[in-house]
C-alpha cells in the first residue's frame, strides 16, 4: 500500500476533471481524494503501486475532451487510511486569489451526449437550445470574473431548478459543476421577432415556435439576425444567390467572402472539397470556420483581356484538386459535368466568395444552431453580425438597432454574451491546419513559451486585425481577434479586452510593448497607458519593429532560440528607416535583427490610398520599369484606367507628393493583380492577392518557370539571379560590413527603447525585370493563369534565393516564415518545399496567425531583451 500525491496542471478546472477522476477511482477501486488548487488539480491515491500506475496511464489516455494536461508531478506521501474516494471542496473553488494559474476554457461546441438528449423526445431537455454539460457549452464568452463559477457568469440570472441543482451537485452526474447548466424550466429561452414588429410591443414567438419562424424566414430567402455564442450572425440561404446578393447590398460588403454554416460535412461537399483531415477539424469541439477549395472552379485560362469578373458559366471545370501540393504535376483535371447543376452551384459560389478559390465552412456549434439547421435550408451564409468595420454585436438592443435595415427577422435569446468572440478561421496548408483568425474555441488558451518571461508583459499588437497578448512566466495569452482599431467601437473593445484579460488572468504588466508605428491606435494607447502608470516607476515601455515582431512570433510558437533567418512578407509595417517595409528577410534573434534583404523600394502614390487602389501600385511599377514610355505600352490595363489619373499619379511620383517608399510584398501582389485586371479597387484586406492566388495553377518549375529578377548587394553589384544560379556559384561581390542607413533609430519619446538593429551585408531585390517580363507576356496574349502562376513562382524563387545567400554568409540554417502573405497556400507550400529541398530547417505558424493577429505574441518575447538592456 502506498499513498501518492499527484499534482496536475493545465486546463483541468471547469472541464469535468474531478468527476472524471472520481468515476475512475471508483472503477479502479482506489481510495483517496481530489481537489482544485491554485495551479490545477491535486489527486491523492492510496492503494497498490501498480494499480496507481495503471490508473495514471488510463487517466492520460481517457482524460475529458476539454482538458489539457500540461504537467503531472508525482510525490509519495504518508499513509492516511482513506475510506473510499471523495471530491473535496477547497477555498480554491470559491476564492479569486487562488485561481491565478488555473486556465479559463474557451467556449465549446455541443457534445454528442447533449445532442442525443436534445433530439430525444422523451428527454426533459428535448429541443432545449441551451443544453450543455461539463464537456460542452459556453465558457469564455459568459465569464465576467474568476474563478469560473456560475455567480460570476451571465448565467447568474437563472437560478437552477431543483432537478438541475441535483445534477450540478452529483459527482457522478455528467453535469456535476457544469456552471451553465439549465433546462426548459429554469434556463434561458429564445424568441423571434420580425423586423417590422420590432418597434411594436407585440412580442413575437417563443421557444420552438420561434425557431420554426426563423427557419421559415430563411427558407423564404430572407435575412435572419441571430444571437449566437460569441456574438450575432447574419444568416441567409446560401444557395439562393439573390438572397445572398441582397445581404451583400444591405451589409455594404461588395466582395468579401461570406462564411457558411452547413448542417453536416456531407452537405458541405456539394460546394467544397473535404478530406478526412478537414472533417476532423470541422467536427472538433472548437468548430472553426475552415477554408476549403470550391469543388467547381471556373476555368482559369480565360485571359486578362476579358472583363474583370469571373464568368458565370463553366467553360471547363477544375476539380478533385484538393491542395496545391508540391508533387502535383498537372495543373488541372478537367471533368465534364452536366451544365445546369453546375451553373447553379457556380452562381451560388460566385455570390458567396467572388473571385476566390475558397469558401469558409463551419458546422453548427450551439444547440440553437443545430435546432435551426434541422428546419432551415441546410447551407446558410453565417456572417458576423456587425456594422461595417465595427465589432460583433453581442447585445439584443444593439443588434436590433444595428440590423433593422439589414435583417428581416431576429432570433434572440435572454442569456447575455458577456464577452464577444468572433468565429475562428482556419485553413489547411502543407498538411497542417493554420489560423487565419484565432478566436472562439481557442482563445484565451495560452501559448507556452520555451523561456519564461522575467516580468509580466502586455503586448499591444498592431493596427489591423489586432490582438493583444498578456504573458507571465511561461504562458502567453493571446486575446481573441479584436479587429481594426481605427474604428471607434473596435478601439473601445480593444481597451475593454485589455481590462478584461488582465482581470480574468490576474496579470499586472510591468513591461508594455508596442509597434514602432507612431500612428497605430495601439501605439498611442500604449504610450498613454504607460504615461498613466509610470508613477509606479517599475513599468517599462518599448517599441518593436513590425517585421521583427512577425519573426519573433513564429520563433515563439516554435520554441526557437538564438539566430534565425526570417522571411517576413506582408502589406505594411513601418521600418526603422521610416519607410514602409513588407518584403523583408531578416537575420534575427530575440534581442534584435539585421535587415539582410528586401524588395527594392518603390513609391507608393497616395500612401494608404495605394492600398485601397491597386492600380496605383501598378502605375508605380510601370513607371519604375518603363519611365514615360509606359504610355506606349499597348496593354489592356492602360485602356482601363483614366489617362489623366495616370498622368497625375506620375506627377506625384516625380514630385514625391505623398508617395512614401515601400518594399512591401503585398503591394507587388496588388500591382500584378491590377495589371492582370483582377482588381483595381479593394474592399477588404488581401482581396487583390486572393484573386491572384485563385487565378493560379499549381507549383511546377518546368511548366511555370519563374520570371527574372536581380539581387543588388551593398556594393551595387548586380547579380541576375535565381535560386539555382546562386546555389552553384560563388557569392558575388565582397560582403562588406557596411551600414547602409544612418538609422540607429530610437523612438523620439523619452524612456522608450527600441531593440537594437545593426546592418551587415544587405541586399535589395529588384523586381523590375519581373514586371517587364509580365508586361511582355501580357503583350503576347499569354493566358492570365500562366502569368499569375509564374508570378507566384518568382516570389518563391527570389526569397528562397535571398535566404540561401544569407545562409551562405552567416551559416544560419533555420528559417521562419511569417507575415500575412503566407496565408497564400501557393507561396507557403512553395517556400517550405524549396527551402526544405535545400536542407533548411523551416518553421511556420501553426498556433497563431501568420498575419498581424499574431504579432502580439512576437512582441512578448522581445520584452526580456529590453529588461536586460
Amino acid at each position: 500500500m502506498v499513498t501518492k500525491q499527484i499534482d496536475i496542471s493545465g486546463v483541468v478546472q471547469g472541464v469535468g476533471f474531478r468527476p472524471f477522476l472520481f468515476r475512475m477511482a471508483h472503477g479502479h477501486k482506489l481510495n483517496g481524494e481530489v481537489f482544485n488548487t491554485a495551479h490545477g488539480v491535486t489527486l491523492i491515491l492510496e492503494g497498490i503501486e501498480k494499480k496507481i500506475e495503471k490508473f495514471l496511464k488510463e487517466m492520460i489516455l481517457r482524460k475529458p475532451p476539454l482538458s489539457t494536461i500540461f504537467d503531472i508531478k508525482e510525490t509519495s506521501i504518508g499513509f492516511s487510511g482513506y475510506k473510499g474516494f471523495v471530491i473535496t471542496l477547497t477555498p480554491e473553488d470559491s476564492e479569486k486569489s487562488s485561481s491565478k494559474s488555473a486556465l479559463i476554457s474557451p467556449d465549446v461546441s455541443i457534445c454528442s451526449d447533449c445532442l442525443k438528449e436534445m433530439n430525444n423526445p422523451d428527454d426533459r431537455r428535448f429541443a432545449y437550445p441551451f443544453i450543455n454539460c461539463t464537456n460542452c457549452g459556453p465558457r469564455y464568452t459568459i465569464i465576467k470574473d474568476i474563478p469560473y463559477d456560475r455567480a460570476k457568469t451571465s448565467m447568474n440570472l437563472f437560478p437552477m431548478c431543483q432537478r438541475c441543482q441535483e445534477e450540478y451537485d452529483d459527482p457522478m452526474d455528467r453535469r456535476f459543476h457544469a456552471q451553465p447548466n439549465a433546462c426548459h424550466e429554469c434556463g434561458p429561452h429564445v424568441f423571434f421577432m420580425e423586423s417590422s414588429s420590432v418597434s411594436k410591443t407585440s412580442s413575437g414567438s417563443h421557444g420552438e415556435r420561434a425557431i420554426d419562424d426563423a427557419a421559415k424566414l430563411l427558407t423564404e430567402g430572407k435575412i435572419l439576425a441571430l444571437k449566437g455564442l460569441g456574438g450575432f450572425h447574419l444568416a441567409v440561404d446560401a444557395l439562393n444567390p439573390e438572397a445572398v446578393a441582397t445581404l451583400r447590398l444591405r451589409k455594404k460588403r461588395p466582395h468579401k467572402p461570406f462564411a457558411l454554416m452547413v448542417k453536416s460535412v456531407e452537405t458541405a461537399s456539394r460546394l467544397v472539397q473535404i478530406s478526412s483531415e478537414d472533417k476532423t477539424i470541422l467536427e472538433s469541439h472548437a468548430r472553426p470556420i475552415l477554408l476549403l477549395r470550391k469543388n467547381v472552379v471556373q476555368a482559369q485560362n480565360h485571359c486578362y483581356q476579358q472583363p474583370c469578373q469571373l464568368q458565370h458559366f463553366p467553360c471547363q471545370t477544375q476539380s478533385l484538386h484538393s491542395s496545391l501540393d508540391m508533387c502535383q504535376n498537372t495543373p488541372f483535371e478537367y471533368i465534364d459535368f452536366g451544365q445546369t447543376f453546375y451553373e447553379k452551384i457556380i452562381s451560388a459560389q460566385q455570390e458567396i466568395a467572388p473571385d476566390n478559390a475558397y469558401i469558409g465552412i463551419m458546422l453548427p456549434y450551439t444547440p440553437l444552431h443545430a435546432l435551426l439547421l434541422d428546419k432551415s435550408p441546410s447551407i446558410l451564409v453565417m456572417t458576423s453580425g456587425n456594422r461595417s468595420g465595427e465589432p460583433l454585436s453581442i447585445d439584443n438592443q444593439d443588434a436590433l438597432d444595428a440590423f433593422s435595415h439589414i435583417a428581416d427577422g431576429f432570433l434572440l435569446h435572454n442569456r447575455d454574451i458577456y464577452f464577444r468572440a468572433d468565429d475562428s478561421i482556419m485553413q489547411r496548408q502543407c498538411g497542417q491546419s493554420r489560423f487565419i483568425r484565432r478566436s472562439r474555441g481557442y482563445a484565451p488558451l495560452p501559448i507556452y513559451l520555451k523561456t519564461p518571461v522575467l516580468k509580466p508583459v502586455l503586448a499591444c499588437g498592431g493596427g489591423l486585425k489586432s490582438t493583444i497578448c498578456l504573458a507571465e512566466g511561461e504562458r502567453a495569452f493571446l486575446s481573441p481577434h479584436i479587429g481594426d482599431l481605427d474604428n471607434e467601437k473596435v478601439f473601445a473593445f480593444y481597451r475593454k479586452s485589455i481590462v478584461h484579460l488582465k482581470q480574468i488572468l490576474d496579470i499586472e504588466p510591468e513591461i508594455i510593448i508596442h509597434d514602432l508605428h507612431p500612428g497605430y491606435m495601439s501605439t498611442k494607447f500604449a504610450k498613454n497607458y504607460y504615461e498613466y502608470i509610470q508613477q509606479e516607476n517599475k513599468v517599462r515601455i518599448a517599441a518593436v519593429q513590425h517585421h521583427h515582431a512577425h519573426a519573433l512570433s513564429c520563433m515563439a510558437e516554435n520554441g526557437l532560440e538564438g539566430e534565425v533567418i526570417a522571411v517576413t512578407l506582408d502589406g505594411t509595417g513601418l521600418g526603422t528607416d521610416r519607410h514602409i517595409w513588407g518584403g523583408e528577410v531578416l537575420l534575427c534573434s530575440r534581442g534584435g535583427f539585421q535587415r539582410k534583404a528586401h524588395l527594392a523600394y518603390l513609391p507608393m502614390p497616395g500612401g494608404d490610398a495605394a492600398v485601397h487602389e491597386p492600380w496605383r501600385m501598378a502605375i508605380s511599377y510601370l513607371y519604375a520599369a518603363f519611365g514615360d514610355d509606359l504610355f506606349f505600352l499597348e496593354i489592356p490595363f492602360l485602356q482601363k484606367v483614366d489617362n489623366n489619373k495616370i498622368k497625375f499619379i506620375i506627377q506625384m511620383i516625380k514630385k514625391k507628393l505623398n508617395t512614401p517608399l515601400t518594399s512591401s510584398c503585398g503591394r507587388l501582389f496588388d500591382a500584378v493583380a491590377s495589371l492582370l485586371l483582377l482588381c483595381q479597387k479593394v474592399s477588404f484586406e488581401g482581396q487583390a492577392a486572393m484573386a491572384l492566388e485563385s487565378h493560379s495553377a499549381t507549383i511546377n518549375e518546368k511548366l511555370y518557370p519563374s520570371y527574372p529578377f536581380e539581387i543588388i548587394d551593398s556594393n551595387s553589384h548586380l547579380s541576375p539571379c535565381s535560386r539555382n544560379s546562386f546555389n552553384h556559384g560563388k557569392s558575388e561581390g565582397a560582403f562588406q560590413e557596411k551600414v547602409l542607413h544612418d538609422n540607429k533609430n530610437h523612438d523620439a519619446v523619452a524612456n522608450h527603447n527600441m531593440l537594437s538593429e545593426s546592418f551587415g551585408m544587405m541586399f535589395q531585390i529588384n523586381t523590375l525585370p519581373l514586371v517587364k517580363a509580365i508586361i511582355m507576356d501580357i503583350l503576347e496574349g499569354k493566358p492570365r493563369y500562366q502569368i499569375a502562376t509564374r508570378f507566384h513562382m518568382t516570389i518563391i524563387d527570389l526569397f528562397v534565393a535571398s535566404v540561401l545567400r544569407i545562409r551562405h554568409e552567416t551559416g544560419v540554417n533555420k528559417v521562419v516564415l511569417s507575415g500575412g502573405v503566407f496565408h497564400n497556400t501557393f507561396i507557403l507550400s512553395g517556400m517550405v518545399g524549396f527551402l526544405e529541398k535545400e536542407k533548411m530547417r523551416v518553421y511556420t505558424h501553426k498556433k497563431v496567425p501568420c498575419g498581424d493577429g499574431g504579432i502580439a505574441l512576437g512582441q512578448i518575447i522581445a520584452a526580456d531583451a529590453l529588461v536586460n538592456q
Binding site: K252, S388, G389, E390, G463, L464, K465, D486, N487, E488, K489, F491, A492, R495, I498, V499, H517, P518, G519, Y520, M521, K524, F525, N528, Y529, Y532, I533, G571, T572, L574, R578, I580, M604, P605, G606, G607, D608, A609, A610, V611, H612, K645, F648, I649, Q651, M652, K655, L657, N658, P660, T662, G666, E685, G686, N745, H746, A748, G820, G851, D852
Partner: protein
C-alpha cells in the same frame, strides 16, 4: 527619427509641433495667458480687454489663385484676432526680403496688403524691412502682428466647448491647401478652385451681434492641420468628444477629387478664410443663417456635435488611462465611426 534637431514636422501644426510647444516653449515663458493656447492672447489693459496675435507667412508660391502672400498675411492676423472675439484695429508688418527680389512683385504684394487691410478695416501702423543675401531667405517672408478690442461680455476660448454644442463650419474646406499645393507643384487647378483667403472679422462681428452673450463658445480658424487638427485642439482643451458627420462636411467636388488622387484627407488640409464655430444648440440655426448671409459663408453647415467624454461612446477607461483627454470621431458615409487624431508627423501609411 532625429530628436536633437528641429524637424520640418515641428512647424506642421500636428502632434509633433504640439509637443514641442507644450514641452519646450510653454514651460520657459510660463504664464497663464500663453498657457491658454488660443489663436491670440487676451490681455487686460487697464480694464480694456485686447486680443493680441502674431504670425509669420512663408507660403510658396507667393502668388496663387485667390490671393498672394500679402493679403494672406493681413487676413491671417485679422482672423486670429477675431477668433478671440476681438475687433481688429491695428496691425504691424515686418518684411524679410531676399536680395534680388523683383520690385514689381513686391509692390503687387504691398498693394494687396493695403487692399486687404482696407477690406478688413484695420490700419497698418508700424513695420520693419530686412533684406538678406541671396539664398538666405526664399523671396519674401512676412510677419504680421495685430491687436483688437474685445467687446464686453464676449468670452471665446478653445476650452469653452461643452456637451450639446453644435459645430459649424463656415464653408467648403481644404480649398486653400489644395490650391497652394497644386500651384506649387504645377498639378493644374480645376476652374472654380482657389484659395479662400479672406478676412473673417465682419462675419465674427455679425455672429456675436446676432445671438445672446455666452451662447457662442468657441471660434477658430482651421488653418494649418485643417479642421481635424483644430477640432482635436478644441477637444483636448475642453476635455470633450467632438463627433462630426462626413456627409455634412462641405468640400468642393474638384477639391475632393484632387484630395482623393493625392491620398489626402480634406479634414487635414489648410484653410485661410474659414471658421469653426462651436455654439449652444439653441442658437445654432441663427448662427448658421448669419454666417450664410456673408459672401464667404454661403456653404456653411452644421457638421457635428460636442459630447462629454463618458456618453460619447462606449469608451472604457483603463484604470483611468483613457486614450486621450478629448477626441474627435468622424461618422463616415459608409457607416463606421473613425477616430480622427492629430497627425503624427508625416502621413505614414498604416493599413496592410
Amino acid at each position: 527619427m532625429d530628436d536633437k534637431n528641429v524637424l520640418l514636422d515641428h512647424g506642421s501644426g500636428g502632434k509633433i509641433a504640439h509637443s514641442m510647444l507644450t514641452k519646450m516653449i510653454l514651460p520657459l515663458f510660463d504664464n497663464p495667458l500663453l498657457a491658454k493656447m488660443d489663436d491670440s492672447a487676451v490681455l487686460d489693459l487697464s480694464g480694456i480687454r485686447v486680443s493680441f496675435s502674431t504670425d509669420s507667412y512663408v507660403v510658396d508660391p507667393i502668388f496663387f489663385p485667390g490671393g498672394n502672400i500679402g493679403d494672406l498675411a493681413v487676413n491671417g492676423t485679422v482672423n486670429d484676432i477675431s477668433m478671440c472675439g476681438g475687433d481688429p484695429l491695428y496691425i504691424s508688418v515686418a518684411l524679410i526680403l531676399e536680395e534680388g527680389f523683383a520690385k514689381a512683385e513686391l509692390s503687387r504684394i504691398l498693394e494687396s496688403m493695403g487692399e486687404a487691410a482696407k477690406r478688413a478695416g484695420v490700419m497698418v501702423v508700424t513695420g520693419d524691412t530686412k533684406v538678406l543675401p541671396r539664398g538666405k531667405v526664399d523671396k519674401i517672408f512676412i510677419n504680421t502682428s495685430g491687436v483688437g478690442i474685445i467687446p464686453e461680455g464676449i468670452n471665446l476660448s478653445g476650452s469653452n466647448a461643452s456637451p450639446g454644442d453644435k459645430v459649424i463650419v463656415s464653408g467648403t474646406i481644404a480649398d486653400h491647401g489644395i490650391t497652394i499645393l497644386s500651384s506649387r507643384e504645377g498639378l493644374g487647378i480645376s476652374p472654380g478652385v482657389q484659395s479662400d483667403s479672406a478676412p473673417l472679422n465682419g462675419m465674427v462681428k455679425s455672429i456675436l451681434n446676432a445671438v445672446p452673450y455666452g451662447t457662442v463658445h468657441v471660434l477658430r480658424d482651421p488653418t494649418r492641420g485643417g479642421v481635424a487638427t483644430t477640432l482635436n485642439e478644441i477637444a483636448s482643451q475642453s476635455n470633450v468628444t467632438i463627433r462630426i458627420k462626413e456627409e455634412a462636411i462641405p468640400v468642393k467636388d474638384a477639391v475632393r477629387g484632387t484630395c482623393e488622387l493625392l491620398g489626402f484627407d480634406p479634414l487635414y488640409v489648410a484653410n485661410e478664410g474659414k471658421l469653426l464655430a462651436i455654439v449652444s444648440p439653441e442658437v445654432a440655426e441663427d448662427v448658421l443663417r448669419v454666417v450664410r448671409s456673408h459672401e464667404s459663408g454661403r456653404d456653411a453647415s452644421v457638421i457635428g456635435e460636442v459630447y462629454s467624454i463618458e456618453d460619447a461612446s462606449c469608451l472604457v477607461s483603463l484604470s483611468g488611462a483613457n486614450y486621450s483627454k478629448g477626441s474627435v470621431i468622424l461618422e463616415t458615409v459608409i457607416g463606421g465611426a473613425r477616430v480622427v487624431d492629430m497627425l503624427t508627423g508625416e502621413q505614414l501609411p498604416r493599413i496592410c
